[in-house]
Structures are given as structure tokens and as C-alpha cells.
Homo-oligomer: 97 residues x 2
DNA sequence: TTATTTCTTCGATGACCGTCGAAATAGGGG
DNA sequence: CCCCTATTTCGACGGTCATCGAAGAAATAA
């Protein structure tokens, strides 16, 4: 669950994380619903695949995950990202599908 | 040299195009120097590799290329991108390296 | 302790990607 | 027409990636 310090987050890694349609959908859902678990998002991929995508999002600096009983709710690192790359996440989230 | 209509440009494709460090550098240089050719940017990759990257940027909707004699200067599609994904290119270009 | 739930890790598979040399293309100048 | 210059295309190579089933881990409930 360890997450990179925001100053260590790199732009290409963030862009790569957001460039996958499934991960982009995860980010949009986390934006709409706030903190949420993988499985509660209702996506059709296997748990293994979703866990992989969450890991990419976490390691790139986009989300943070905490441990709550047997589940692991994640949230967007909105404030951190806004400090590091001002306007980037907003532009992505505001973009028309 | 054909370029996608701006309404057909897709966000994952743009993010994928910008997620590569070499292409990100091309975009930053095109931003600083304006319209420019592949070879004039002074990058160390082979012409074949740079041509490949320009193609990815062109097909994703990030740059447009015109034909001028034997060379092919490219430019950022700033206005188109601003209409399609407001604030996105600005956020990427303004981000600290 | 045993079973259940939730998620992660492992291993494999098929697809895609960055890179470059070599060959092809195309315009401009003699 | 031939050559030079700038770029693209082709084919290949090694590496990375998305996907998923199966097995593992970890907390909770019975």
C-alpha cells in the first residue's frame, strides 16, 4: 500500500497510467463516488486484472489505497496531483468521453 | 500527412502519445520553437525512430505535419486540442520536469 | 480452527511498443 | 536524368503490457 512521495511522481508514469481505458474508467468512478474498492466499481474485468490496474495507478502516484478489514478502498490523490501537476487531473476528468 | 478530425481524437490515444519521454520532449520542443522538423529538434534517436514518434503524435491528434519541399515541419494542434480537451495540453506543458 | 470474503501474487499467453538498419520514396538542384 | 537531402516504410529484435486462472495471504465470522 506504500505510495510514492508526490515529488517523486513522474509525468510520463502518470500519463501512462491514465492512458489505459480501464484505468481511466476507474479514475472517473473514483472521482464520482469517492473512496471505493476495486470490486465495488462494477467493472467486468477479473479481480486479478483490476488489482493489476490499481497497482499501476498506485505506483504512478494517481491513487492511494488503505486497508480496512478484508477490503482495500482506494481514493484519488487529488490534492497531491494538483500540487505536482496543476490542472492535469481536472483536465482529464473534465474531458468529454 | 492526413490528421484525424479533432472530434475523433480520443483521450486515451492522446495520453498514450504523451506518455513516452521522447514524444513528450518533442512536444515540449515544438511548444518552445514552434513549427519544426524532426531533424531540427536535435534529438539523439535515429530518423526512423523519430519518424515513428511523429506518426504516433500525428495519428493521436497531437501534431499536424505539412509538406515543404523535401522536409516535413510539424506543429502542435494547440487550438484543436484546447477545444477538445480544455486545459490538458497546457497542464502537460506547464508541468515541472 | 475452519470457512468466507477480498484482494494480491504468480505464471503464462498473446498483443503491442520503442528501437534501429536497410531499403524505398519524393522533392530540388544541377 | 542523376544525385543529394529529408523523411517514411519495412522487417526484425527485445522488452513491456493487459488479461486471466490458480494459488496465496490476511482479516473477519462462526
Amino acid at each position: 500500500m506504500a505510495v510514492p512521495a508526490i515529488d517523486d511522481v513522474e509525468l510520463p508514469a502518470v500519463l501512462h497510467a491514465l492512458a489505459d481505458p480501464v484505468r481511466l474508467e476507474i479514475v472517473r468512478l473514483l472521482d464520482q463516488r469517492g473512496e471505493s474498492t476495486c470490486s465495488a466499481l462494477g467493472l467486468s474485468q477479473s479481480p486479478a486484472t483490476l488489482s493489476h490496474h490499481m497497482r499501476v495507478l498506485r505506483e504512478s502516484g494517481v491513487v492511494a489505497t488503505r486497508l480496512e478489514g478484508t477490503s482495500r478502498p482506494s481514493r484519488l490523490r487529488r490534492d497531491d496531483l494538483q500540487r505536482r501537476f496543476p490542472g492535469l487531473l481536472d483536465a482529464v476528468l473534465r474531458s468529454r468521453r
